[in-house]
């Protein structure tokens, strides 16, 4: 028949498109942690049930629509009206819903549980970036959450201004960051890698550019990373960088940004102590290379209109020094 063939064609096209799309995408059914794994199994169970239900019920609709067409007044049938309603409308749905209720309980019982010896991380959502603090290691970074693979994580979530929502599709579901309320998300990551996350609660003009990266590393690599941030280098690495530091301190930068070990202690913008090591800038909006960094400093507004960092004019020579300094902060 033509219609099913066409349907199959469309379905195949969609599957193909999805398959191409998932590459490099924060695809929730490409799970990298136990929570996302559980939810993925729930999804495939639901998908199977849904596909069967859709095909069967749609089949009933088509047969119902066409079977009586040639008769005078409608075609008699052995299935009574009440039979349809009681079986199709109540009994079968009830059984399916029971299965789903079981799946819900089973999945929720196995995720987000307190575990021993968790790594504590405090995330604060701000318009439109993420402050990431490691309270036990006493340092703060931004827009990048590093975690050791396999270790339970206890992520505290707070909002500094409006509601945001923390979402890394490959690791698990969302948890909102709500002013005046401390939320906790407990999760684990199974596989090393960099996973994109994004704010999922509308929070204003740059809600679209409030992303972040979760970087999962081997415990050893994580420890090195954390240790480096616990004890940041004491001063600029060279002449140019030293000039850059002076430029930074002279400019308005220091009023909004913190660089630990210096006089810059502002908290309006992200902590820049390790900005040179970050993969992206502006809450995972543009890559962290020299060109984008310069563009960001001179005019963050073209990259992220409405962001809370004003355009800043800096002499070209000063800018060179400043860039060198910031890029040396690793």
């Amino acid at each position: 028949m033509r219609a099913p063939a066409r349907l199959a064609f469309v379905a195949a096209g969609l599957v193909f498109l999805t398959a191409c799309s998932t590459h490099g995408s924060p695809y929730m059914f490409d799970p990298k942690g136990p929570e996302a794994h559980r939810i993925t199994s729930v999804w495939w169970l639901m998908f199977t049930l849904a596909a069967v239900v859709y095909v069967v019920v749609a089949g009933f609709i088509f047969v119902a629509a066409f079977r009586g067409r040639r008769s005078e007044t409608g075609k008699p049938s052995r299935i009574t009206d009440n039979g349809f309603i009681v079986v199709g409308g109540i009994a079968v749905p009830f059984v399916i819903l029971m299965v789903l209720a079981w799946a819900t309980v089973d999945a929720t019982n196995h995720v987000r549980r307190p575990e021993k010896n968790p790594l504590k991380i405090e995330v604060v959502g701000k318009r439109w970036w993420w402050s990431v603090e490691y309270p036990d290691q006493h340092f703060t970074t931004a827009n990048e959450v590093h975690v050791p693979v396999g270790r339970p994580i206890e992520l505290g979530l707070d909002a500094a201004d409006v509601i945001h929502s923390f979402w890394v599709p490959q690791i698990g579901g969302k948890v909102d960051l709500i002013p005046g309320q401390h939320n906790v998300w407990r999760f684990k990551v199974d596989e090393p890698g960099t996973y994109r996350g994004q704010c999922a609660e509308y929070c204003g003009v740059q809600h679209a550019h409030m992303a972040f990266l979760v970087v999962a590393e081997s415990p050893a690599a994580f420890d090195t990373w954390a240790l480096r941030r616990e004890n940041p280098p004491s001063g600029p690495t060279g002449q140019l960088e030293a000039t850059g530091q002076m430029v930074f301190m002279r400019s308005p930068c220091a009023g909004c940004h913190t660089i630990r070990g210096t006089a810059a202690t502002g908290t309006i913008g992200p902590d820049l102590t390790d900005v040179g090591s970050r993969k992206m800038l502006g809450a995972a909006t543009v890559p962290n290379d020299e060109g984008h960094l310069a563009g960001w400093i001179l005019d963050a507004q073209t990259i992220k209109p409405g962001a809370l960092m004003p355009p800043i004019s800096i002499e070209p020579r000063d800018l060179q020094a400043l860039l060198a300094y910031l890029r040396s902060l690793k």
Binding site: M46, G74, I85, T108, G173, G180, G204, A208
Partner: protein, 639 residues
């Protein structure tokens, strides 16, 4: 089948006309209380907003059709999705259904007007004025941008200092008045003004659906009114209901909003299913299967819909036990919908289906709602919802439900009732074309959004980077949106064309079963000279000829049932369960009062908006005068 004529009455139609008709021109326009004129007006106005809001959707889809696109600025985009949602819910879907209910209830129940005709006019004026109020923000270039849900603290004065959000907050409070008084009118009309013999188990299913809707409105709308009113108190007068660091709670706002917000989905969906039941019955050429089941399901939905609101808040960090309850109830609510669904299938199964345009829309509805319902069950599953909430999956889901399962029935209803309302027929051919474009465009536009959600695309983003796998699907979606828009445009043209050039419609062009088809197309101002007497669920199919109530009057019934009652401008009250005639009711004559009262309230809201006490006081004064006058003049006219 023959049309069930009402026997000739021996009253002069000209005389009736004179008693019932509105003044011509502008005075009549502002003073009418005729439910049919008001109903049509509701529908026209709502569709105006539908097309405006649809244009905004097209702009948004084109902005998202490619990564890092610059069709509109982020500011404009955020205003557009706010106004798109607000308009569709408050200024299109809710009022267009109220419009159909207004138009159809009296003629479907066999009476001469609504229970409170002036209240009816009032609710329409409030609706228009609140629409103008909300869109005035566009004229002054300060459209609200807090999302249609307006979550605090983003919508608080601190983070949203402009007047933009006051348009929204006050506008929502304002339009809520219209919805609420409308609901009261529907309830009283359906219980007290049915034709004699239309016992409770003979009420047309559409009326059951409207009743269910009206009860939900009565209990749900106060919550959103409260939410937005408290928000405005915070904004305008510095209270702190939702300000966390002063002891307020942002979650309180969410609870209030969704306590209305979820029933609202059913407030829209339930009357749409009522329309589908009517259409499927007529074009399957047999009575609806499981009438009692369906009526019960409609009522059950109204109850259960109040126990699911928290599933909009599964990510807010509530205790799992609390959420599990709402998860379970959200699953359960699928059952009444399943009952309705299989009642429709059963009706067609043992009927003879005729593929007219209304029926096509009903079938399209079935196929779309089936998917929207299934994804609805999915999002009730707590852990799955953690992943998909606030993602494009949810955008897909609720467009399948609110666009597919509400707008499709509404379009079907237009094709179905247009001949009755306008007295002319629409082109079936263009109706078919419109349907297929809408159906295909709809699925092309919204199906890919499910996958976008899986790929991690959140809602309400004005742009996205390339390389995340979102590009093609968004482009496909934009193409679908255009096809869908053209499809709706064709119906609009068909509609305008039919109004002037369509062939004249007979009284019962579809050979339908319910009472509205027994009167002329369009019906006279008084609907029925003599009120019909009902002895069946499908009077026009089973009662030939349809008797009128003159005989009842001879026995013990009030004179208002007969044409004499029409001459006296009267309606008849009947008992709630078995519709025995009780007494005559005077119907009010045309009056400016509803307009004056509504205008007074509008002035009051403008006063609040611009913080001008004098203006506000003037508005209150005007409204008070209107109210007092209203209470005084009962319009008893026993001449």
């Amino acid at each position: 089948m023959a049309i069930a004529d009402i026997a000739p009455l021996g009253v002069d139609e000209h005389e009736l006309e004179e008693i019932w008709s509105d003044a011509p021109g502008i005075p009549g326009f502002f003073s009418t209380v005729d439910h049919k004129r008001i109903g049509m007006r509701y529908i026209y106005t709502a569709f105006f907003f539908f097309f405006v809001s649809g244009l905004m959707a097209l702009v948004m889809r084109s902005q998202l059709s490619a990564p890092d696109n610059h069709v509109v600025s982020p500011y404009t985009f955020n205003q557009m999705f706010t106004m798109h949602g607000t308009t569709m819910i408050f200024l299109f879907n809710t009022p267009v259904l109220a419009g159909f209910a207004n138009y159809l209830l009296p003629i479907e129940l066999g009476t001469r007007d609504m229970a409170f005709p002036r209240l009816n006019a009032f609710s329409y004026w409030i609706f228009v004025l609140s629409g103008i109020f909300l869109y005035a923000s566009f004229v002054v270039g300060k459209m609200p941008d807090g999302g249609w849900f307006g979550y605090t603290p983003y919508t608080s004065k601190v983070y949203n200092p402009g007047i933009n959000l006051d348009f929204w907050g006050l506008g929502i409070v304002f339009v809520g008045i219209s919805t609420t008084v409308g609901a009261v009118n529907f309830i009283v009309t359906s219980f007290k003004l049915r034709a004699p013999g239309m016992t409770i188990n003979r009420i047309p299913i559409f009326v059951w659906a409207v009743l269910s809707m009206a009860f939900m409105i009565l209990f749900a709308v106060p919550a959103v009114t409260l939410a937005t009113a408290l928000l405005e108190l915070d904004r305008l007068f510095g209270t702190a209901f939702f300000v966390p660091h002063l002891g307020g709670s942002t979650l309180l706002y969410q609870h209030l909003f969704w306590f209305w917000g979820h029933p609202e989905v059913y407030i829209l969906f339930v009357p749409a299913t009522g329309m589908v039941s009517m259409i499927i019955t007529v074009f399957s050429r047999r009575p609806l299967a499981g009438y009692i089941w369906v009526a019960t399901a409609l009522i059950a939905i109204a109850f259960i819909s109040f126990g699911v609101w928290v599933h909009h808040m599964f990510a807010t960090g509530m205790p799992i036990q609390a959420m599990s309850f709402f998860s379970a109830v959200s699953l359960i609510i699928a059952i009444p919908s399943g009952v309705q669904f299989f009642a429709w299938i059963a009706t067609m199964w043992r009927g003879k289906v005729e593929f007219t345009t209304p029926m096509l829309f009903a079938m399209g509805f079935l196929l779309i709602f089936l998917l929207g319902g299934i994804t609805g069950v999915m999002v009730a599953v707590l852990p799955f919802d953690w992943q998909v909430t606030d993602s494009y999956f949810v955008v897909a889901h609720f467009h399948y439900v609110l666009n597919g399962a509400v707008v499709f029935p509404i379009f079907g209803a237009i094709y179905f009732w247009y001949p009755k309302m306008v007295g002319r027929k629409l082109s079936e051919r263009w109706g078919h074309i419109s349907f297929w474009m809408m159906f295909i465009g709809f699925n092309v536009a919204f199906f890919p959004m499910h996958i976008l959600g899986f790929l991690g695309m959140p809602r309400r983003v004005y742009t996205y980077p390339s390389g995340l796998g979102w590009d093609h699907l968004n482009l496909i979606s934009a193409i679908g949106a255009v096809i869908f828009a053209v499809g709706t445009g064709i119906t609009l043209v068909n509609w305008v064309h039919g109004r002037w050039w369509g062939p004249k419609a007979e009284d019962n062009p579809w050979d339908a079963d319910s009472l509205e088809w027994s009167t002329t197309s369009p019906p006279p101002e008084y609907n029925f000279a003599a009120i019909p007497v009902v002895a069946s669920r499908h009077p026009l199919w089973e009662q030939h000829p349809l008797p009128h109530a003159e005989a009842l009057v001879d026995e013990e019934g009030p004179k208002s049932l007969s044409a004499e009652g029409a001459l006296h401008h009267q309606n008849t009250e009947t008992t709630g369960l078995d519709a025995r005639p009780e007494r005559a009711l005077e119907l009010p004559h045309p009056t400016y009062l509803p307009f004056v009262l509504a205008l007074g309230l509008a002035v009051f809201f403008v006063g609040l908006l611009v913080k001008a006490t004098i203006v506000g006081a003037f508005g209150v004064g005007m409204a008070l005068v209107g109210l007092t006058w209203w209470a005084w003049r009962t319009d008893v006219d026993l001449s």
